[in-house]
């Protein structure tokens, strides 16, 4: 995007976050590092997709970014300023800049509030964005902006379909004129035809308003169509990142290659099934007890002794983009 400034809107520096668990009633307290050192940046007007399977820590990243969760260590920088541990007024100001849209608009919209109340709530909390006498007009404008009938402002969430509710969530996020919207599986629960509507809307909003997206998803098809840059997450760390086309055309990490190979797409009827398909064996290891060394080695067909002991860093390894693998697949023949 053209309007990139030098300082990214969002920067994560070696973020470590998660939750504390306890084994049994009196058991030892455990720190579960769902996110084990993630660095990432999002520039103004840019879309960065964080893609991974369940339990990889992608939603924990989202929660840390919007300050719903305090990281164990590392920094969340907004406009170059560390915002971890902000309180009171400063935290409130931050929340104006960063909004979160969840997967399930059934759960995230208060069923007892009308659409007008849901959208204008933010203006009550953050005075000065829109004066009260302008609320109705602004609600109507926002509804129209997200493709809903402005005349439906007095309706309740249950009177809308899933796709329409997600539009309400987006209108609500836009109400505070944020610079970054974190979308956590925001289109995953929607039917394909509606999903495409919401993606198209998000893209138009970005073009018109310059908002940046940190888009968290498990859907590799969506990522390819929507992302400027991609970071692939596996068990708490980023294993590979780069421009979308780089990742899709020149994936270097075995996990990325397996993910791409596993994603079903409409073109697959042509392939004689299993032609070059990479099917990983076994399950994703538990983040409670990640394997030593490279966290992917238990499922990796290329793993060697080094991988079992030494954790690879996310580095540019002559691959054109950073990859966290001791043996990246620079040679396409060796990769298959």
């Amino acid at each position: 995007m053209e309007q990139q400034s030098t300082t990214p809107v969002l920067e994560l520096v070696d973020l470590v976050a998660g939750y504390r668990s306890r084994h049994g009633l009196l058991g030892r307290r455990n720190e579960v590092r769902a996110v084990a050192g993630v660095s990432l940046s999002v520039s103004a007007g840019e879309t960065v997709c964080l893609v991974g399977e369940s339990g990889c820590g992608k939603s924990t990243v989202a929660r840390a970014v919007v300050s719903l969760l305090r990281p164990f260590s590392g920094e969340v920088r907004f406009d170059g300023r560390n915002v971890t541990g902000l309180k009171g007024r400063e935290l409130k100001n931050l929340r104006r800049q960063v909004q979160l849209v969840f997967q399930d608009p059934y759960a995230s919209l208060n069923p007892k509030m009308t659409v007008r109340e849901l959208i204008s709530e933010a203006w009550r909390i953050h005075p000065g964005i829109v004066e009260p006498d302008g609320w109705d007009a602004e609600v109507a404008r926002l509804l129209e902006r997200v493709g809903l009938n402005p005349g439906h402002a007095e309706r309740y969430p249950h009177q809308f379909s899933g796709g329409q509710r997600q539009r309400i969530s987006i209108a609500r996020a836009l109400a505070v004129r944020p610079r970054l919207i974190v979308c956590d599986e925001a289109v995953s629960a929607l039917d394909v035809s509606i999903q495409a509507q919401v993606l198209t809307l998000l893209r138009e909003l970005q073009r018109d308003l310059g908002v940046a997206y940190l888009f968290i998803t498990h859907d590799l098809g969506v990522v390819r169509h929507f992302a400027d840059r991609v970071a692939v997450m596996h068990l708490g760390s980023i294993v590979e990142s780069g421009d979308t086309e780089q990742i899709y055309e020149h994936a270097e990490h075995p996990y990325t290659r397996a993910l791409l190979s596993a994603a079903p797409s409409v073109e697959d009827w042509r392939d004689d099934a299993e032609n070059g398909e990479i099917v990983l064996t076994g399950d994703v290891p538990s983040p409670l007890n990640p394997p030593p060394g490279c966290r992917f080695h238990t499922r990796c067909w290329k793993a060697q002794d080094r991988c079992r002991t030494e954790e690879p860093e996310l580095l540019e390894r002559g691959t054109g983009h950073p990859v966290a693998c001791h043996f990246p697949a620079t040679d396409p023949v060796a990769a298959m």
């Binding site: 999903q195 509507q197 990522v223 086309e245 993910l259 079903p264 797409s265 409409v266 398909e277 990983l280």
Partner: protein, 329 residues
């Protein structure tokens, strides 16, 4: 040769609301058919009706279901029970809700061998271990004593498949079998199902995901608002869709393989089945719609051998679709 399963003009209703409105499909021994559609399209109800497993409020209002030439509605409860499980079985999206949480997985699989095959307890257990091994559950001899919650989502779906296939049915109905699974686990399950297809198992796979359909099925029925709007082989339908809804679905489906194709949404929302539009149910969302579509409901008609579309202007859609490369043909 008669079809293994033949469904003709099936109508399923909740009270006086018809959720499935005259659906027909058939499949032969060893064949895989996909029923694809979005939520509320009636795709799951159609297959539940086949098994006689409709929810309590729903009933088959009309239509015919034939199994190997025999009318299922004329079968006794005893014959139906023999059909389900022995000849025809089903797996669902959520294996956790289909398994009894208080019994070990091994017990639940072994129970089928004891009840249906009259095997002794130890023999049934041995067969359960075999069945688990066959679907790729590692260390089955030990895992046979574990409870459903001790398995991951992918392993639970394997357990379901082991149970569904234990009695060597001729047809497996798989309703969104991988929707709840991670993509790498989904690939494992789809591969497992493909291996069974190759061994001669017929399948009906119900999915909202055109990619999953492309990987598993040879022919496809596309459903919209309770009706089949298009059918044909997956290759034919994906290369040149003949119904505007299919065309729209393909255009809206993001692909991890193809970066050149722009995804395009379908305008509007699926209709409420209690208040369907007049004429063609798709007409309010259809870029091809004309006056006739608002008044006259199109029938599913065979416009070429093996290809049907429920659109007044199927030939026009076909021509338009063929001009765009949808599925990387």
């Amino acid at each position: 040769m008669s079809a293994l399963l033949e469904v003709t003009d099936l109508v399923v209703a909740f009270g006086d609301v018809r959720a499935v409105r005259g659906v027909s499909f058939s499949l032969s021994e060893g064949e895989t058919l996909a029923i694809v559609g979005e939520s509320g399209s009636g795709k799951s109800l159609s297959s539940l009706a086949v098994l006689g497993l409709l929810p309590a409020q729903a009933r088959v209002e009309s239509g015919e279901i034939r199994w190997a030439g025999e009318d299922v509605s004329a079968m006794s409860e005893r014959e139906l029970r023999a059909l389900r499980g022995e000849q025809l079985s089903m797996i669902f999206q959520d294996p956790l809700s289909a398994l009894n949480p208080s019994l070990t997985v091994g017990y639940q699989i072994a129970e089928m061998f004891r009840r249906r095959r009259g095997l002794r307890r130890d023999e049934a257990r041995r067969r359960a271990v075999e069945a688990m091994t066959e679907v790729g559950i590692p260390d089955a001899a030990r895992r046979v004593g574990a409870y459903p919650h001790e398995f991951s989502g992918g392993m639970r779906q394997r357990v379901m498949i082991a149970m569904a296939l234990a009695l060597e049915p001729r047809l497996l109905i798989a309703d969104e079998p991988t929707t709840a699974l991670d993509v790498t686990v989904q690939a494992q399950i789809l591969r497992l199902l493909r291996h069974r297809q190759r061994e001669g198992l017929a399948m009906v796979i119900i999915s909202h995901d055109l990619g999953v359909v492309a990987r598993t099925a040879r022919s496809v029925v596309v459903m919209y608002a309770g009706q089949a709007v298009e059918s044909g082989t997956v290759a034919d339908v994906y290369i040149a869709p003949a119904h505007p809804y299919t065309l729209g679905l393909l255009d809206a489906s993001p692909s991890a393989r193809d970066s050149n194709r722009e995804i395009r949404p379908i305008d509007g929302y699926p209709p409420d089945i209690t208040a369907l539009p007049t004429g063609c149910a798709f007409h309010p969302r259809c870029p091809f719609a004309r006056e006739r579509c608002r008044t006259e409901e199109p029938d599913l008609r065979e416009f070429a051998p093996g290809r049907s579309s429920a659109c007044h202007y199927a030939e026009e859609v076909l021509a338009r679709g063929a001009a765009v490369d949808h599925a990387g043909a």
